[in-house]
């Protein structure tokens, strides 16, 4: 078997593409990789009723990522396949920003994108795979992301109130909503009466102090 996308990181090698999003390899279900040696893994997928090419293009447009990824302030393309990412370290608009450079490792239009960080405040790598849904309706988008517990992961955990794994899951959810509907559902700005201490505590424990990305709207 060639290198499995589920057990090794940055896969510049060919993927075993026999099945839906490589969650199944040679007929067997592969669970997501275990967290170990200071590495966190998250694998998540979503069925999106859009063409793989369209979704690929949306994901590949890194400068638009702040529209659907939480806490991103800005992404700037710095060269072919490289970009600089800046992210807030708390939920306040004027909070400290951390930055890192990212490099694309694999870029197969309509099929997959793999990337990793190079230098800066974070150490992470990831991959997104676009697969036709088994019944032919829509595209299965699978994200596999790996972090080393470093500044990024701990900033997320402690300041932002989102575990980094959950952030990856939420970002894919935002991506799907934006792709399917042209917007990301938002309720944080709806009117309400006085929240009081308990109400405010609940907001943060429900993750509602993490600003929902605007979807560019």
């Amino acid at each position: 078997m060639s290198s499995s996308p589920l057990t090794e990181k940055p896969y510049v090698e060919d993927l075993p593409r026999s099945t839906g999003a490589s969650v199944v390899v040679s007929g067997r279900y592969l669970p997501p990789p275990e967290d170990k040696d200071g590495k966190l893994w998250v694998r998540t997928s979503a069925l999106v009723l859009k063409d793989a090419q369209v979704l690929y293009a949306m994901w590949r447009d890194v400068e638009a990522a702040p529209q659907w990824q939480e806490h991103l302030v800005e992404v700037v393309e710095t060269g072919p396949g490289t970009s600089r990412w800046s992210m807030r370290t708390s939920n306040d608009d004027d909070s400290k920003v951390i930055t890192w450079e990212s490099e694309v490792l694999a870029d197969e239009p309509g099929v997959r994108i793999a990337w990793r960080s190079i230098g800066g405040d974070v150490d992470q790598a990831g991959e997104v795979i676009f697969d036709a849904a088994p019944n032919g309706v829509g595209t299965v988008v699978t994200v596999l992301q790996e972090f080393r517990m470093g500044k990024l992961a701990s900033a997320w955990e402690t300041l932002v109130g989102r575990n980094p794994k959950q952030a990856v899951i939420e970002n894919l959810r935002h991506f799907k909503a934006l792709a399917e509907t042209g917007e990301i559902p938002r309720s944080q700005l709806d009117p309400h009466g006085d929240r009081g201490v308990i109400g405010n505590f609940k907001r943060s424990s429900y993750g509602e102090t993490v600003p929902t990305p605007t979807g560019g709207n």
Binding site: E170, S187, G193, R203, T212
Partner: protein, 392 residues
Amino acid sequence: MKAVCWMGKSSMETRTVPDPELINPHDAIIKVTRTAICGSDLHLYDGFIPTMESGDIMGHEFMGLVEEVGPEVTNLKRGDRVVVPFTIACGNCIFCKKKYWAACDNTNPNAHLMEKAYGYSGAGLFGYSHMMGGYSGGQAQYVRVPFANVGPLKIENDLPDEKVLFLSDIFPTGYMAAENAQIQPGDTVAVWGCGPVGQFAIASAFMLGAARVIAIDRFQERLDLARSLGAITVDYSEEDVSVLTALKDLTSGVGPDSCIDAVGLEAHSNELQGIYDVVKTALFMETDRPSVLRQAIQAVRKGGTLSIPGVYGGLLDKVPFGAAFGKGITMKMGQTNMHNYMKPLLERVEKGQIDPSYIISHRITLDQAPEMYKIWRDKKENVTKIVIDPWA
């Protein structure tokens, strides 16, 4: 604007809050002309549904005039008169495409909360906890309606609000309950609960061909309404009445072909099991009081169907699953897939086949709402349905 706010368990207050604003491109702002209090609101009032925050604006049954629309709203304009479904659906995800609108993938901003509790998240709902989206509700003068191209039903006739308002929830909910009961012409259907949902389930069961409907409750005014629709009524609070025996007696010993639980998680019970549930829920060892569900599973005939529009929120104890299995019954349930039913049911109202306003007993202002919640919970003053005029 004025709005009814949840301020804690058993505590509602009418407050002045900011007006809603357009947030997303498919939003519309509706000026609410009529809204209602639902049996589902009681589960929030009584603290059975988690993830409410003080200050939350209540209300998911409302209609009104379009005040403002976002740039992507193409089928509504200012001044249009609309009824808004309580479930918010995007229209584009796989579940919306399959017409399971209440299971929409894209409308709950807090989907992760529901995923933790239920495995997957359903659609966002208006004014119904943060787990269900954290959207502000319609017991207010204005409300923001997301995905306004998909949900709101335009009313292009001069029927008064009261005749079309219940298309926002309870009429379609009663109708889907009857549809889920898989009624064959000539069937006997038993309906627990003669509240608004039960009423529309009874009316719809007849529309779908039931020969007989047996309606169960303990409040005379509600049983009277049920009889006015043609149902046979059973008052379960009467001494000597056993619901199970009554249903057997009324069905030649066979049991009803279909049973509809239009009561849900706050069922009242004067039997020993009821006390057991009250104690257990008070100790947080059980979240719901499923006494009607238990009875309905026992009562339904072999191979029959159990339809459950009544809301359940969490963990249920002592549900006779063996009986369900032993008789090979079918169970169907869930939040109403509103968008399937609003238009066809509006047509029935327009043709004069039904006048949904028959259930209204109280017409109130926003300022009276907090007090009325209590009356609604305790079923005092012969209350059957409360409608609010937010501008009175």
